[in-house]
């Protein structure tokens, strides 16, 4: 089949216009998500098959209201549209507008038309409008705008075939020819353009005018330097903001007249959304409902994720024993069974929890609830230097900080975004759960409280709460320390409540899980192999001597074969590189109540927290059967060689738990923070303040209680 992907079609429209649903349904599985070069704005492209041998590239431009951008997202969209040299500069625009609020969404469309793009206007969510008994006269719209207009319903697949046909036709028909622009440049503007020297007949005046106004940040060559542009601005006394406002006014007036003529309005009744919002955004019930929803979300994660997690665990157990049985006794077999497989399982085990959390968050986003939460909590978050949208990141942090930090891209203000990125890892993520589960029994004995609760469950909740408090305290401190434009603005549309588009939910879950696997997966796998090396090899004859010693000791004690092997492994580990590292670490962790064995486990946990449990299993020579309860049993039996006191007493376990709540023990997150902030400065600072606060808090806890 011939690949003809020469032409580019861009999907353009306001946020919440149904753009993404249309993009998903047009491209199906033929899509890629990446970043625009140099910025962290999501770039979605896909292949659209128009006919057997005709394919075009489809780009989903970030949702925008106008060509006068107010956020990084909008800026990218604007840049692509006004830079004919950009790889994503479209040959055709599919402009998506929600049929619900057509009149408000025509501003950007009018700008597209004045730029001369061949354009198809797509009215999405047409079924919802029709259900309300309203109509839109698409024929009249076509006539007035001079472009094809089609009504579709992405959910029901209505009108998609016609849209594809129209895309094919419109691609053939060259640039848009309109008698006169919707917005006529005023005389002064023309004068400026003449002075700039770009008023040949073939040039698009409006495009040049946008260049004049956006010269400061357009990254492409406009033929003039910034200084030259500045001189022109000064000479003609151009006030970009005023120009913008004037232009916007004029366009909105024209478009409103047009919309009034084609849309039948419903009487100003309280809509369904407003009725729901009377409760959901109520000053008291709103936050209460939010708390209940969050409780349900996290309850669901724990309840539902257990089954797939157990399945993954036993699958890897089986795989490990099969592989080790079929491979010869050699270093590479050990690398596979003790380095690669545990690493892989350590990555996969978290997918169920992450997938479930993002499934639920996506549903909340899709139905329109998340914007209500943003509205409710914005002013609280602002007191801590964050933004209403930070709440989405903080909740996501309950699964994994990596996709959570990536989701901060929607926060336009840099300082608010940065603070959100810095404090999100304080929220207890899924990797901390296994650690909490092992240690909590040493701190609180199991007892029923008030019928439905138990002491350990409450302690668990307490650790989560402690992480949340830490995040807000840190945010407050950063708000005071960091400089930067504190005045940000926040004007957000509250979309109508609607049923989720399941395709969008599915794509979103896939994307988030993908981000986790790609970003964290690599690092966890590599670290897991390094750990295997450090634990399996030692300097010189160390390991060999340790083995001999252990065998002698085992013979003296008359140990069975199993116990002998355990003892050998433990002794070997002690003399391995990891053991030496742990011992050299002991003076640092001793004040916190940890011995060198915990030291080793802690070092390994700096790669990824959950590794702690596996390391404990190795150190206490429990072998490959990694069972939480067995590990706990072994840990309980450990006694200090000198004092004969148990190692895991109350103060030590408490100090360890607090350390895990606060410490920055995730290299993958640091790598993502570096990516998102474009410098090592922030991940280094983040690592520093989190780990120092963990050390101090654990130190105080241990010294107080021991």
């Amino acid at each position: 089949m011939a690949e003809q992907v020469g032409k580019t079609v861009a999907i353009v429209g306001n946020p919440n216009s149904g753009k993404t649903s249309l993009f998903n349904i047009l491209t199906g599985s033929n899509q890629k998500t990446g970043n625009f070069p140099g910025v962290t704005v999501e770039r979605k492209t896909g292949i659209l098959r128009l006919a057997e041998d005709l394919r075009v590239r489809l780009v989903d431009l970030p949702g925008s209201y106008s060509l006068y951008p107010n956020s990084a997202d909008e800026r990218i969209a604007t840049e692509i549209l006004i830079n004919p040299g950009h790889t994503d500069h479209p040959d055709l625009i599919v402009y998506v507008a929600s049929a619900r609020h057509l009149d408000r969404q025509l501003l950007l469309l009018s700008q597209m038309l004045d730029l001369g793009f061949p354009t198809i206007l797509v009215l999405s969510m047409i079924d919802e409008v029709e259900q309300e008994g309203r109509t839109i006269d698409t024929a009249a719209l076509t006539k007035r705008l001079g472009i094809p207009v089609m009504a579709i319903s992405s959910r029901r697949g209505k009108g998609l075939k016609q849209l594809k046909d129209q895309i094919g036709i419109s691609l053939q028909s060259g640039p848009l020819q309109r008698a006169r622009p919707i917005y006529e440049l005023h005389e002064d503007a023309i004068k400026v353009l003449k002075a700039v020297g770009q008023v040949e007949a073939s040039e698009n005046l409006y495009l040049r005018w946008l260049w004049v106004q956006h010269f400061e940040w357009v990254p492409f060559d406009t033929g003039k330097s910034v200084d030259e542009w500045l001189a022109i601005h000064k000479q003609f006394n151009i006030e970009p903001l005023k120009e913008q406002v004037d232009e916007t006014f004029e366009r909105l007036n024209q478009m409103e007249l047009l919309a009034d003529a084609v849309v039948s309005r419903d009487p100003a009744s309280r809509t369904f959304s407003e009725k729901i919002d009377a409760l959901f955004t109520h000053w008291f019930w709103g936050p209460t409902i939010f708390a209940v929803i969050m409780l349900f979300v996290f309850q669901a994660i724990f309840a539902w994720a257990t089954y797939p997690m157990d399945a993954i665990e036993s699958a890897f157990g089986y795989l490990g024993s099969t592989v080790s049985a079929s491979l010869p006794e050699a270093w590479y077999s050990n690398l596979i069974t003790e380095g690669v497989l545990p690493g892989l399982s350590g990555v996969l085990i978290f997918i169920p929890q992450i997938a479930i959390l993002f499934f639920l968050i996506s549903i909340l986003e899709e139905v329109g609830y998340m914007s209500r939460a943003v509205y409710l909590f914005d002013h609280w978050m602002q007191r801590f230097g964050m933004n209403g949208r930070s709440i989405v990141a903080l909740i996501s942090g309950g699964a994994c900080a990596i996709p959570a930090i990536m989701s901060t891209r929607t926060i336009a203000n840099w300082k608010e975004r940065l603070i959100t990125i810095l404090v999100t890892p304080f929220i207890s993520c899924s990797a901390r759960i296994p650690v909490y589960a092992v240690l909590i029994a040493f701190v609180v004995p199991y007892e029923r409280v008030g019928g439905i609760f138990n002491t350990q469950g409450l302690a668990f909740a307490g650790l989560y709460l402690f992480g949340i408090v830490a995040a807000f305290v840190a945010a407050y401190v950063f708000k005071k320390i960091l400089k930067g434009k504190s005045h940000s603005f926040f004007v957000m549309e509250l979309p109508a409540y609607r049923m989720p588009d399941w395709m969008n939910v599915w794509r979103n879950v896939k994307e988030k899980v993908g981000a986790f696997v790609m970003e964290a997966g690599k690092i966890i796998l590599i670290i897991s192999m390094i750990l295997w090396f450090l634990a399996s090899y030692g300097p010189g004859q160390n390991m060999h001597l340790a083995e001999q010693e252990a065998l002698v000791e085992a013979a003296d004690l008359n140990l069975a074969a199993d116990a002998t092997e355990d003892l050998v492994n433990a002794k070997k580990l002690e003399s391995s590189f990891a053991g030496i590292l742990g011992k050299s670490f002991e003076p640092i962790v001793e004040p916190l109540g940890y011995d060198w064995k915990i030291g080793i486990a802690l070092i390994t946990a700096f790669a990824a927290r959950e590794v702690f449990v596996g390391s404990m299993a190795t150190i206490y020579s429990i072998g490959s059967e990694e069972d939480e309860f067995r590990i706990r049993e072994h840990m309980a039996k450990q006694v200090d060689p000198v004092t004969r006191e148990p190692v895991f007493d109350y103060p030590t376990a408490l100090s360890l738990l607090l350390f895990f709540v606060l410490a920055m023990q995730c290299m993958s997150t640091l790598a993502v923070v570096k990516k998102e902030t474009n410098t090592w400065k922030w991940p280094v600072i983040q690592f520093g303040f989190m780990t120092v606060s963990a050390y101090v808090v654990s130190l105080i806890a241990f010294q107080l209680f021991s």
């Binding site: 209201y65 009149d103 406002v245 919002d277 609280w380 603005f489 004007v491 957000m492 549309e493």
Partner: protein, 72 residues
């Protein structure tokens, strides 16, 4: 009067707002002088405002509402 002083449920008309990036954004979202506006709900303690402009629902900050002038 200022939008922030408008009582919940009272219908007013958007009057004017100073030229600033915030307001160019509001304009681009279709909030025009002359349009009817009402405050549907407020988050207490100078929290965000939930307003309705024509039939569109919009959330904005208290500080922003202080700069938006309306008349009854």
């Amino acid at each position: 009067m200022r939008l922030s002083d408008l009582r919940i449920g009272t219908l007013a008309v958007l009057d004017h707002f100073p030229v600033s990036p915030l307001h160019s954004k509001m304009l681009s979202m279709g909030m025009l002088p002359g349009q009817q506006i009402s405050v549907v709900r407020k988050v207490p303690l100078r929290g965000s405002l939930y307003v309705k402009v024509n039939d569109r629902l919009i959330a904005l900050r208290f500080r922003e509402a202080q700069n938006i002038m309306v008349h009854l």
